[in-house]
Symmetry: C2
């Protein structure tokens, strides 16, 4: 019975032109999103008033003009604080099994509240952020429209941000076109790179629609990964030595846009990242030609980037707390 | 002859529904811009790789989601440097007689090069900025399309940014609709505020399409302006004591979006700004009711904000110099 269902499913997928046996599936546009939440969340994502300084927004480090990252080794936070870890892309992050490199947030909504209140990031508090939003007449109106009468809450604010983030998928990459049956969408080298990506075992962790994000894995499962970055991964939460360097598998969608790579941002190029990964995770080396094929494949994963008008933010009201960029320096 | 031409001009304007005798003219969309330069300049305006840190773009302080300003007392620069002066709006800045508060840049192109190389702002150099652009394949292609074969230059980069900035006008405000003949576009209080704005003499400096920006004037022409901000205005360039506190008259278009006000960012609200200005510039006080009318009028000057898709930036190449956010700290 199970097998029969599977066969039917495969037949259906095949009918849609999707290569059913492939370990990577096309990115799909989300359905059933709340348009009001998305619009509100989009504004909040771009609004630096959620930070203490009034200068850092979600988009500062998860820049939607740059693959959803800041392209820095590690991010800059309040007072020019040096962040501890490379900012992961927000693109396709709704596919992640959990959020943050160590998976400590269960979902996008739980994640969104973190940086706002992190002293080394946006350095606000949930109380202050809510007070700011509550005193901006344009937001009060929008929150009421979306969540009904009542005070603005951090729960609603992060809910709206998460709903906006669900829209940040990047469909229609050349690879997805190939998956859906357009055999000319990628060239022979790129296809050879994909075959190599599969038979080498990269696909063991980097699979599913996001080509990663589905599991937490040890960085250096075969050979030790050498880094000066002190992040412990899941061990920082569990305290278990077995979880040392266990990180969420990064999403490889749009990977050509999101250098530098790894949790420590140590790999400056895709070539360097691929060379390191096959050694520490798979205990082998690619030839330069083989590595170039894999890199060529990875570049076919760049999909349609966020495409919406630059958000316009409502002005502060007379009672909106003034930003405090310099008081703690 | 001259008078005859003037009469014809006035007749033409009247035919267009424009109140020809008014000291403020509607904002008009620019014509004859180079679309290629505009697109390239738009990307550069949003590209933080023009800064040493890779984190500060033109849009960081002239935020097009927030009236073309950062809504801070003074801006944040490289290493969290505290800026010396309030960031003026970039909206409608093509109408300015000169750029910067002290008018030290003749035009938008000359201005654009300043912050890139200012150690307290973007902290790059023109040489480094060019090297960055020159090693980003997507930009090399675009520069060649727009400026022809040859190396990328800072001259071309600032030319493109300036061309983009010329698009940043904000037409179709309620006040402009009124100017063009829609008598219901503003209400009785707003109209009364405009009359007061004229008869009090505000309009002596705040006139023209941008409602300011046309001249450099002394802040405190009647009564001294008290501030702890050390900026000298034009005197900082000329060394002449007569130029002390001579600043470019701020543009009042979209003024409800660009708090706080004045070169020192000391006025938190429009009400406070109006109260101060009528005293120091015009040696009088408004009644609270009169001031509220003027504020109501000022809020009719908010026009159509920038409306374009969030720019997408080309990825760095293998030889692009890495950003250096932390090396000088």
């Amino acid at each position: 019975m199970k097998q029969a269902l599977l066969l039917i499913a495969m037949a259906l997928m095949s009918a849609n032109g999707v290569a059913a046996e492939e370990p990577i599936q096309p990115v799909e546009r989300p359905k059933h999103l709340d348009a009001g939440k998305v619009e509100l969340g989009k504004q909040l994502f771009f609004d630096a008033r959620l930070s203490k300084s009034g200068w850092i927004s979600c988009n500062s480090c998860h820049n939607l003009s740059r693959g959803g990252t800041d392209n820095l080794v590690s991010s800059i936070g309040h007072g020019w604080a040096q962040g501890p870890i490379n900012a992961p892309t927000v693109l396709n992050s709704s596919y992640n099994v959990a959020q943050f490199w160590d998976g400590r947030a269960a979902d996008l909504k739980a994640q969104a509240g973190g940086p706002i209140a992190n002293p080394g990031e946006m350095a606000s508090t949930h109380e202050l952020a809510v007070k700011v939003l509550q005193t901006i007449p344009g937001y009060v109106q929008e929150f009421e429209k979306v969540y009904g009468k009542g005070p603005v809450t951090i729960d609603h604010a992060t809910d709206a941000i998460a709903e906006f983030e669900r829209t940040l998928v990047t469909p229609d990459s050349r690879f997805d076109k190939w998956l859906k049956g357009d055999k000319n969408a990628i060239n022979a080298q790129e296809l050879a790179g994909y075959q190599l990506f599969k038979i080498t075992g990269c696909v063991g962790c980097h699979n599913g629609p996001a080509v990663g994000g589905g599991t937490l894995q040890r960085m250096g499962s075969f050979n030790p990964y050498d880094t000066s970055n002190p992040s412990l991964g899941v061990a920082g939460i569990s305290g278990q030595s077995i979880d040392r360097f266990r990180f969420k598998v990064p999403i490889l969608r749009n990977i050509e846009l999101t250098a530098p790579y790894f949790h420590d941002g140590a790999a400056k190029t895709l070539e360097a990242a691929v060379d390191t990964m096959v050694w520490v995770q798979l205990n082998r080396h690619f030839t330069p030609a083989g590595r170039d094929k894999v890199v060529a494949f990875l570049k076919t994963l760049t999909g349609k980037q966020p495409d919406f008008p630059l958000p316009q933010l409502p002005p502060s009201g007379p009672d909106t707390p003034a930003p405090q960029p310099f008081d703690s320096k």
